[in-house]
Symmetry: C2
Subunit: 592 residues, 2 copies
């Protein structure tokens, strides 16, 4: 079993020096996010993650969630840990104080979320799904719906789910068939949903299912979908739990990873129809769903970061302890810890540099979310919204792809032990693999970046970011900044290609969408690493030693490693975007 | 469950047009490898792979091998399938007819081996380990040892194992502690070995363990290791099985993948000492072991290719059937099979192009093995040996890294279904993960390429290959060949850097070893793809339609895709080699 210690020093550094937490704390409504409070929140969350959630990660994987006689039981310790999580108010950090939330910035909530996910990915999916449902109700619910559901969901006493997928409707949400027939003040829902994360469990008092369904005569496709609140237990007028609704878990899936997260097949309305309450207007369900999904996409990216950090800590600790072979330049010396072997070092540095870039990108995205919600003038809010829209598919895809790559390196560093389940490294490799798939596959994210985020505004939001990056790296005098400047030439060219090609041949542009996303994210990560290094250099020059000088020196060396070892991938992705798209489409289906 | 159909058309093409099977068949002793015979062998092997081995792949994964009361049982159907394999003489293809082998070229045996591994990786490890033991005995055994063991092992009635690893001695084989004390005509072996593949099972009549151990007073490290034959049942003078030897399986490991392959912890000499027979001279065990390992490394590379092919077939078949969303350039059309979506196409083409390059590289390496063994003049044999030595670490590392990448893409193409174990895509992802680890981790391979294969001969073998590639791509007039020509500039530069750096700073060179290996292999793969495309073009120009024109056109388009999408990675690896090595070593251990 491996320990997890929240990387608070790096979190602090990114929040203060890269994201500019003081600016976020200056936004209206976030005044409470003082440095002292943020420090206290991170410290306390780190303790819960380390002492309560992390120790259940491996046992949860081994036991899994079980389904018997219609009852889902989570692994030993999960209900108690969930109760501690609720008692600590940890689910409520970023939500509206009116409904019991703590009103902290998403930026801070994101750092905390990284900890839950690193400690126990399966566990963290429960509050993550609840968060999505809360966001959707906060934005689209009626005052009565908010009053009925939000306090319980924000506290975590009731958990939430998202019910989109049906067997024939995965990425194609518009193909769903679940029906909703109006009856008085509610609807009767019938249909089957699959892949419902934490769809049934024994941790919360009630489960609030957010279900997409079609009313009779609704238009085909996504324009005929409505969103419904379908509670497991129907709340009574006094807020207590009433009757069991007509919905049930049919079975749990047998998955590659996240075994402790119950993934349910759900049946609605087997008897008389499940009672559901419309959220927003009829046929506007996709809009409500996107409110849930957009935040969830950032959160899934954070999961990629989290599992990378966990895998890194475990591999590094192993590499410090495992003695094997002499140093390469010593013929007769003693055996050394493998951390001293250059190739092991290369793997660890790849993990560390990549995940620090991932962290910077995730927190910067969260800060844009805060600005989009709270910036005092409309123009600033709109600019922040454009930024978060642009960054969301990158955060979701790049962080999850890198999460898988880093978890795989974690296995590799363990050698033969890595392949043995008891070691725990393999669990991260298995758990991480869902991340590029759920909440919109990474391929869907790339299309989102291309079509909705680049072509729709004719490249305006991208141009703003590119200009900001260019201006930043021009102002910084460092090898890292210079390398980013060179990579920006590739990114500029690929962006132009994408805009031109997308205007005349969407299919061809789509063939380049994934390498383009990777190019964009890799360069953006490089930019943030160059900014990190520059900030560290400033602090060093100013004689600051916070947290200590060698930490700051390490930030610079890690940024250098990124520039030398990770950033060069950008040119390969640029080639795959601009030249590769043509050959992607050349072969006929029959010859694949 | 997924079907497996051996890709015989592509195997034929590579064997004939890229490898030059006719030249191999012209080598002394290989005269029987006529085109007709090779066709018949491939067809027949393809049938066994499809009808007998492939159907046991998923059930074997689910059941695994079990250990109870000291007895190991393989999954249902495995003993019977093994018997069919033995009855068909499939283990004997490349071995000496004097001992019952069929004397076919390794080139042909390698293509056949790809099929076994693709059909059932766990199963195929049994004959693979036997093959290693046979090779070692063929080369280093006494005539009596050969007569006693080889016929039974070549037939497969007895299987073989390799016993190197001990808990403290993994990559550092020299740290092993198992003891061997001479007693008359044999030795008494004591010690524990871990990670012993097919170390105990119920498929063969006897198991011949090849065990590395130290005699008393042997020098420390690898120079004091000897190799012993330690049979499970001691053969009697008449060749029948005698007493049970003093060795036992202690337990089986619980692994991430290859569940149906029993990975044993073995105890030797718990009672009186296990009887072992020395192979070769005392203290020369590493030499004998390398005979086993070098071939095994090529074979493990072939496993990477095999699982890539299997994952590809499954993903492609799924993509042809799964209907989801409209075509990207159609707003109201019907749903289409996802194979028509450009991003799915990109993933499938990445799988196909990479694995075709992998296949070409593996078969070319096998042909070098045949030439090194059978070429009539010594100079040709030496040149072929230098080539196979150079290619071995690339085949082992690059093919297994790519195998993991391709298995992961296979999961991704399945979307949510890919994460569900019943689908089978996740098994390939789990199974593939051992390949970069066993038979020398890929990091060890990179050091082998750098130190033993490049620095030791001062780059002579590499220069010969680089010159051959340069000359080839200069002679070919195609965009693919031009792209390889450009990538060769990077490879030349990195090779020079590696030679210069290695001469003065081994630690720095080691930090660049893995990206250098990837660079070398990626370019070599590109070269072989360009040659494939040129051969296809020649056949098209000559009006040949073998197997059909569109197959040949597909070879050209696939090579183009490789040049546009995969080959550009070479420049990133070159940067990571030459610039990246410095920053890899910059950070102190404490700050990792």
């Amino acid at each position: 079993m491996s320990d997890y210690n929240a990387p608070i020093a790096d979190m602090h550094f990114v929040l203060r020096e890269v994201v500019g937490l003081d600016e976020i704390a200056a936004l209206p409504g976030y005044e409470e996010a003082t440095p002292d409070l943020v420090d206290a929140v991170l410290e306390e969350a780190g303790r819960l993650a380390r002492d309560v959630l992390a120790p259940l990660n491996q046992s949860g994987d081994r036991e899994g969630a079980t389904f018997e006689n219609g009852v889902v039981r989570t692994a030993a310790g999960f209900p108690e840990a969930y109760q501690q999580f609720v008692d600590g108010g940890w689910g409520s950090l970023p939500f509206d104080p009116e409904y019991g939330g703590q009103g902290l910035p998403w930026t801070v909530a994101t750092a905390v979320q990284e900890m839950w996910n690193a400690a126990n990915l399966s566990f963290s999916l429960a509050p993550l799904l609840t968060q999505g449902a809360v966001e959707s109700l906060q934005t689209h619910g009626t005052p009565e719906q908010k009053a009925t559901y939000l306090p319980h969901m924000i506290s975590g006493r009731w958990s939430g789910t998202m019910n989109l997928t049906e067997p024939q409707a995965g990425s194609d949400v518009g193909a769903l068939k679940a029906r909703a027939v109006k009856q008085g003040d509610h609807y009767l829902i019938t249909g089957q949903k699959v892949f419902i994360t934490w769809g049934e469990h024994d941790c919360a008092e009630n489960i609030i299912h957010m279900v997409l369904a079609r009313t009779p005569d609704a238009p085909a496709g996504t324009r005929g979908i409505s969103l419904f609140i379908v509670p497991k237990f129907l709340p009574k007028a006094d807020g207590t739990l009433g009757e069991r609704n007509d919905l049930r878990c049919v079975s749990l899936e047998h998955k590659l990873g996240i075994h402790a997260s119950p993934t349910a097949i759900m049946a609605y309305g087997d008897s008389s129809g499940a009672i559901g309450y419309l959220v927003g207007a009829e046929n506007r369900g996709m809009e409500c769903m996107f409110t849930m999904m957009n935040n969830a996409r950032i959160s899934v990216g954070v999961q990629g970061l989290a599992i990378a950090e966990r895998a890194y800590q475990q591999a590094r600790d192993f590499a410090r302890e495992r003695v094997q072979s002499r140093a390469i330049d010593s013929r007769d010396g003693p055996g050394v810890a493998i951390i001293q072997h250059p190739d092991v070092r290369r793997m660890l540095m790849t993990m560390k540099a990549t995940l620090e870039a991932m962290r910077a990108l995730a927190y910067v995205a969260a800060a844009a979310l805060d600005r989009a919600k709270r910036a005092p003038d409309e123009e600033a809010r709109a600019a922040a919204q454009a930024r978060i829209d642009l960054l969301t598919p990158m955060v979701k895809s790049w962080l999850t792809d890198c999460g898988c790559e880093i978890a795989s390196l974690g296995v590799q560093i363990h050698g033969g032990m890595g392949f043995i389940e008891e070691t725990g490294a393999a669990q991260h490799y298995r758990d991480a693999r869902i991340l590029p798939i759920y909440e919109g596959t990474n391929g869907i994210q790339a299309l989102d970046l291309m079509a909705r985020k680049l072509l729709r505004d004719k490249g305006a939001a991208a141009a703003t970011l590119l200009l900001e990056m260019r201006s930043d790296v021009t102002a910084i005098d460092s090898p890292e900044a210079k390398a980013v400047g060179e990579a920006l030439i590739d990114l500029d060219a690929a962006t132009d290609w994408m805009l031109e090609t997308g205007a005349k041949d969407l299919r061809l542009a789509a063939a380049g969408a994934t390498p383009y996303l990777r190019l964009f994210a890799t360069v953006t990560g490089g930019w943030l690493m160059a900014r990190s290094a520059a900030a560290a250099q400033r602090l060093l020059d100013a004689g600051e030693a916070q947290p200590d000088r060698s930490f700051l020196e390490a930030k610079i060396q890690t940024a250098r490693f990124y520039a030398d070892n990770i950033l060069p991938r950008a040119s390969a992705e640029a080639a795959a975007t601009m030249r590769g798209a043509y050959s992607t489409l050349a072969l006929s289906d029959a010859h694949l």
